[in-house]
Symmetry: none
């Protein structure tokens, strides 16, 4: 559909189109569309920009990925639809594995996502079909399946857009979890070791940029950055930012003047 170039919410509508294309290409689930809408609402509240606490979390995330022994990036349908190129580039930059990991797992969707990632330059995609043969004991049904060469073996797992149950399960089996989540109140945000409260579309290029610029730092300095990051404090800063922003909007008055003809 044609979105006028002057539409004030053009960016958001273009992202929405990507999701809809992703659904039509078999990458995204119907429930993924609704989940995307929830993200849109929180992004709206943030002001649709990457705020300072997110930059702090991004630096810590880059440092954690660069010091990891075996980092894995977990990819679901929405992530694949929105940032396929960035997933591949980040994996190359920090030497991470890419694993398909779906809430509503079907063989067709796994394969469509893997094919899509290969098309965008991936050299290896784990978690498809027989490869997802290991299980996380904390979880039920198809959602517990992971790759023994991927998430099961990982020390650090990046989960852009994950559900709370699985984030908790990953923490319980001892993984260091980095989440990207627009909702600072979600269980994922609150249980991850590092949560980047930002839109995955804005934040993935930044995570690549930070990872590249920090690549030459010594491991000791990188570890210090990771250890000095406090996720609870960072989330509190995010919420304070949101509260200040909402308060300012109210103080400025909410009304838009419309010339009545």
């Amino acid at each position: 559909m044609h979105i006028p170039p002057t539409h004030p919410r053009r960016e958001s509508l273009l992202i929405r189109e990507k999701l809809i294309d992703g659904y039509k290409n078999g990458l995204v689930a119907l429930a993924g569309l609704i989940a995307h809408g929830r993200g849109e609402a929180f992004d709206y509240i943030l002001g649709e920009k990457t705020i300072e606490p997110a930059h702090e979390a991004l630096k810590a995330a880059a440092a954690a990925l660069l010091t990891a022994k075996y980092p894995v990036i977990s990819v679901n349908g929405n992530v694949a639809a929105l940032v396929p190129r960035e997933i591949v580039e980040l994996a190359k930059t920090v030497n991470a594995k890419i694993e398909v990991n779906l809430f509503y797992r079907t063989r067709e969707r796994e394969e469509a996502i893997a094919k899509w990632l290969y098309k965008h330059g991936a050299s290896e995609v784990l978690g498809v079909g027989e490869d997802a043969s290991a299980t996380i004991p904390e979880l039920f049904s198809e959602r517990r399946r992971v790759s023994p060469r991927g998430i099961l073996k990982a020390d650090v797992v990046l989960v852009p857009l994950e559900d709370g149950d699985r984030t908790e399960a990953l923490r319980k089996i001892g993984k260091f979890v980095i989440a990207i989540d627009l909702n600072p109140f979600s269980r994922t945000s609150r249980t991850a070791n590092i949560t980047i409260v930002d839109n995955v579309v804005r934040t993935m290029p930044l995570l690549i940029k930070y990872s590249k610029s920090m690549q030459s730092m010594d491991k000791e300095s990188l570890r210090k950055i990771v250890n000095s990051f406090n996720n609870n404090e960072n989330l509190s800063e995010v919420v304070r930012y949101i509260l200040d922003r909402l308060r300012r909007i109210v103080d400025q008055g909410l009304v838009i003047n419309i010339t009545k003809t």
Copy 2:
């Protein structure tokens, strides 16, 4: 899908099912699913209940509909999927026309929605096919089309779930606009004459109830209620409610303790 009766988010999940059924029945657009997710997030922030400022807006809306010369209810796919019976009942109560008005207009969807409304008791549905022959000059493409017997002629238009461009356009051509919108910051909320910040599923039965109980009031008293309503003040009250609620959540502490094994 089976949702256990004890599930803490049962209501919200049942509403979601209605939307997904609506998509499968050709009423709801894929973008409508995303828009619904956005609403879910704002409803979550509100605490999923009808708050006091919404009751004030509901009373003003009922008074505006009862004093209108030619009220029209604008119906899109999500509204049709969620509250078809209530749309018909409200139209009968306040003697309003019902008009199908879609952001993503297709003949199939117009007709599916009209059929669905007739099935739920509507005696007339405007805005389908040739009937949507008039245009709103402020808008582009298919989105500008309205019925000359409906929105074009209306003095008061109820838009449950509308986008900002169209709400602004309706105001610019002199319509008195009543909106139902869970996002108090949206352009729709801020440009409408009366905005009910509430979930359409909770609020439509209340709007019917208020309209019925206020039906016997004299026009002068009803007009006073409309004129004394200040949308900007009402939205500010909503935002203050949200701020208080978020502050309380932060004060209770954000962190969830996970036993690391």
